[in-house]
Subunit: 435 residues, 2 copies
């Protein structure tokens, strides 16, 4: 790599709101999105909620080996050739430039993602995931992540808070463990988290990612960078009532290892309507960022972003997340125990109904009560199993958090200058060693 | 790191058969396992099926932050302090030496793991996973993985074959993407795969891991290195009938990046009984390996293990796995479609029964048929949902395989000498660059 190496990347991110049968004007919006991506020369388009169903590409039974799988029908031809399994996941990436075909890609499905009995919310059925694309650009390794976390339906009484925190931790850990050789890390997506929410702080503190909205000096778009705005005709005005400017839940986050410098030259958002036709592309606003990566001398002086203040901020957010997950574990176990009692009672009731039906008397009533009893029994069994699995998943995340917290506290107690790097970004130190 | 760096690691691996209420003499065996690990000086004990339930450590609701979570009660005190969430997962690691406390750890739960309606097999309920421990040993980064894949209950008609291949691929991808900065990679576990099975070949070809049993010159233990042997009193003799010596399904696999050399000095297995008391520790045999890691000059000559023969072997195994997953996707979709028809018929039947019950006549029979109808309807709904998710998971793995296959074929077509490294172990090349 040349010492005066410099790279300019134009990034596009959008939650496409592409749920088959449910999202309004889906076909038309997807077509306009395709036209926009064809017209503008983005290097990387990271899309969420692309959706499958009607219009899904690829023959039934899958494409033969060696032939890239087709994507969303209305995206431009060059985009379709990227060979990514967009229709199969909640998070997908499109690479408009042929030169940017990924070296590698993989996906990680979040262990916890809401509750199957919350059918009207539907997140559980979609299967939220994080996708990773490894790109090699003139010798630079770029890890681009795209994700979509569980939605927030009621901010006052958010029953999905614990799952979203667990997902944010799983995302942070996935990035942490898979980006150790990357020079630049980019994360785009719909996090369903406000900037000061626990999950967002946890993600940023543990991965060291920076928020393009805060970093750029050239921002144009919606007020306060909001990505769900009241001007958008697809957005429920009632839900946005407490937020006059809207909410910011979609992000462009990035970082570079020591030896590289990354900055956000410009950041744009749509403002409730397509830049060309006027009608919105989605119920979310699109983010368009121009990032600039260049060589910088490796830093041997202590990094001011890894001081004691940052360390205690990390410890504080880890503790907060640990407490949230611990509450979640207790609640999941409570539900499993409750379901266990219901199973016991249901079995007793069934035995009683059998006896009544055999003995005559209220036979018809007894038989009539069989159906709801069996239903309750099966339902309680499913609830028991689900919450046992939930408790297991939350305990797992809690144990990981606890380990990191223990290490962070050890570093704080030691007060060593060399320790924070170990905690706040292994790869940054390692990247520096390579220079 | 000194140029004459050399490290000796004593590894212990065992599937503990620690399923609460189901595994025979669990308490006694766990106690003896603890005694053995206390007596022998292993550096790393990687255990599967440690189990939770009665005897699970840690107070209800979890330990407070900062205090390591307790593990299996009967393991030695030093082991309990490792702070790993063993009772919560299928795969766990114990670090008998305090000096080997992990720098980091995380877990990845496999997306697919059998069928919930196969209650008698139970794998779905356990939640199979791969655990990763990152250890820093005198400047060397060791990534130790421990896993347990879905069991094989009928080799002639193996309904779980596709899921096991998908798990092997997910495991290989997890290792591939999380070990890019590791100097040494170690994988132990119960793969439930015979050495020549598709999943085993896929894992070894894509990760470049070597089998300790084949590599060592000093092996002592069961015939052909088998880890389920007829001499073990807990093993079903009927199931092992086609295999007079037993089967080899537990492994110690390893590799080192260029610049390091790893070899297996000795490999031992138990032979159907505890080395001290005579009664087996588990229904599986334990593996005990002594590995030696030392510096070696980085190789600039083409690696003989990455020649055209190896490349075509990789392509062949990727094709085989792709075909298996493709069949799995078709089958999952068939089941989902079938369940869809059953739902339709069930709804029709329910409407008919309502009409009959309202009209009188065979009223009692109609009411009596309600219960099975509702049951069938709910069951078909669950089957539909499950197989749709299964098809999604398999499609995701198939898309990843397809991408790797495409890249491997491109490299083969180009016939470049530099390409195989890109395919057969990115980190080996990268590791070489660092020297």
């Amino acid at each position: 790599m040349k010492p005066n190496f410099s790279l300019r990347l134009r990034i596009f991110n959008l939650n496409c709101w592409g749920i088959p049968y449910l999202s309004k004007h889906r076909g038309d919006r997807m077509k306009r999105l395709g036209d926009l991506l064809n017209m503008e020369s983005f290097d990387l388009a990271l899309l969420e909620e692309v959706g499958g169903g009607p219009g899904r590409g690829g023959p039934a039974g899958g494409s033969p080996p060696g032939r890239p799988q087709a994507g969303v029908r209305h995206l431009p031809a060059g985009v379709e050739r990227a060979g990514l399994p967009a229709p199969e996941a909640e998070a997908a990436a499109r690479l408009p430039r042929r030169a940017l075909l990924p070296e590698e890609f993989t996906q990680h499905v979040y262990t916890l993602n809401g509750y199957p009995y919350m059918i009207h919310h539907g997140d559980w059925f979609c299967g939220k995931a994080v996708g990773l694309l490894v790109l090699h650009l003139s010798g630079l390794v770029l890890n681009a992540y795209v994700t979509h976390l569980h939605a927030e339906y009621n901010r006052q009484k958010d029953v999905y808070l614990t799952h979203r925190v667990a997902q944010a931790w799983e995302l942070a850990q996935f990035i942490h463990h898979t980006s150790k050789k990357a020079d630049v890390v980019l994360l785009c997506g719909d996090l369903n988290l406000h900037p000061k929410d626990l999950g967002c702080r946890l993600l940023k503190e543990w991965t060291g990612l920076h928020d393009a909205y805060h970093e750029t000096r050239d921002f144009k778009g919606s007020e306060e960078g909001c990505t769900m705005v009241p001007e958008n005709c697809y957005v429920s005005q009632r839900e946005l009532e407490p937020f006059p400017f809207g909410i910011r839940i979609d992000y462009v986050l990035y970082k570079a290892v020591s030896g590289f410098y990354i900055s956000c030259k410009t950041l744009r958002t749509t403002t409730g309507h397509d830049p060309h036709s006027g009608t919105p592309l989605s119920d979310h606003e699109a983010l368009m960022a121009t990032l600039c990566v260049r060589h910088s001398p490796p830093q041997h002086t202590p990094d001011p972003t890894q001081g004691p203040a940052e360390r205690s901020r990390l410890i504080s957010v880890l503790k907060e997340a640990w407490t949230e997950l611990d509450l979640g574990v207790a609640q999941a176990r409570w539900w499993a125990t409750f379901a266990g009692y219901v199973i016991g009672l249901g079995l007793l009731l069934l035995a009683l109904l059998c006896a009544l039906a055999a003995g005559g008397g209220v036979r018809e009533v007894a038989i009539l009560l069989w159906t709801p009893s069996v239903g309750v029994l099966l339902g309680a069994g499913a609830v028991y199993l689900f919450h046992m699995q939930e408790a297991k998943g939350l305990s797992r995340a809690r144990a990981e958090l606890q380990h990191v917290l223990g290490r962070a506290r050890e570093a704080q107690d030691l007060g060593l200058e060399s320790q924070p790097a170990l905690l706040l970004g292994q790869q940054e130190r390692d990247g520096g060693e390579e220079q």
